[in-house]
Symmetry: C2
Subunit: 191 residues, 2 copies
């Protein structure tokens, strides 16, 4: 039974202890060390993960070997190759650990089961999904409309804790700007 | 009672006729003509819309008056300023009609009500939200990793019908490329 998961779910719905115990029995703990992979490209992805501790990145590597960062995940975030997980196709991303991590994984089958059995869990994931949708729409708007300096400032402001835990090379890859551009920008701003 | 909405919901869950009648009683029809606005910036947004007929665009206009397209919506798609709708903040987008449209609108209050009263509707919107999340993640990946030519080809391939209903100026704004670049590209490809 994870205190972190209970607290996270109870931000949206209230659960009796026995309800939560039943729900949490469908999650399996997983621990990985820094640099280890959680998901690699071209795999079938059966599991979605809740992060109890640590930091991960989901990346896409193009034909020339250039790495693009799709998503980070730290404490209380969810991570997977969502396209592969929901649409039953093979993964196109790599998810690896930037720190040692502790995760709780749930399979698609069990996720659907707990949502079907418990209306409150269906509600919880509907709300989480809509928040995720809004966050991604904001990122698209930022990618379309901002220059590198604005994008860097938005990131530093939106995720101050994350900025401190990431190398500049990784932040640059996330923002879609060069390492050199980021160095110029961050010389003017403390992250 | 809308045949289109019933068919759309029943792609994911089955509803008895009386269930659907009760659900659809929470939707209000709305008709707008080409060029009219559905939502303007700086408004409170209380409604999400299902498109029965027609085509709309959601745009963001920056301080210099440049227009960026966040989303299109055509038949069987849902549209709103989702950030304003879900987070109870003011709209930052304009949503206007590219064709005459017929919509069905539901308020946040009624959406939550039908989801609370009917577990199948909660499931329906959870699934719709997760599909939306995956589609936006693909768009982010495309914005980060592709050059204008690849982005144009992906769009033409993914939304062939939409390409035929949109002007090149609008497609260019959606792809984040100039009108001139798009003209060069589309001279080589039939959309």
């Amino acid at each position: 039974m994870s205190v972190e998961l209970k607290k996270h779910i109870e931000e949206i719905v209230s659960l009796a202890d026995e309800e939560f115990e039943y729900i949490s029995s469908h999650f399996k703990p997983k621990q990985l060390k820094k640099h280890q992979y959680l998901i690699q490209t071209d795999e079938h992805v059966k599991t979605i993960y809740f992060v109890i501790k640590g930091l991960l990145k989901a990346t896409y590597i193009d034909l020339n070997g250039k790495e693009y960062i799709i998503q980070f995940a730290m404490e209380n975030w969810w991570i997977s190759d969502f396209q592969a997980f929901y649409n039953n196709v093979k993964s196109i991303t790599n998810i690896s650990c930037l720190e040692n991590v502790e995760l709780l994984g749930i399979s698609k089958e069990d996720l659907d089961k707990i949502c079907h059995e418990n209306h409150k869990m269906e509600h919880f994931f509907r709300v989480k999904n809509s928040s995720g949708y809004v966050a991604l729409q904001q990122r698209i708007l930022s990618l379309l409309t901002t220059n590198p300096r604005e994008r860097f400032e938005q990131f530093s402001c939106q995720y101050p804790q994350l900025g401190q835990r990431l190398s500049k090379t990784i932040i640059a890859a996330y923002l879609g700007i060069s390492r050199e551009t980021l160095s110029r920008l961050s010389a003017k701003t403390v992250i």
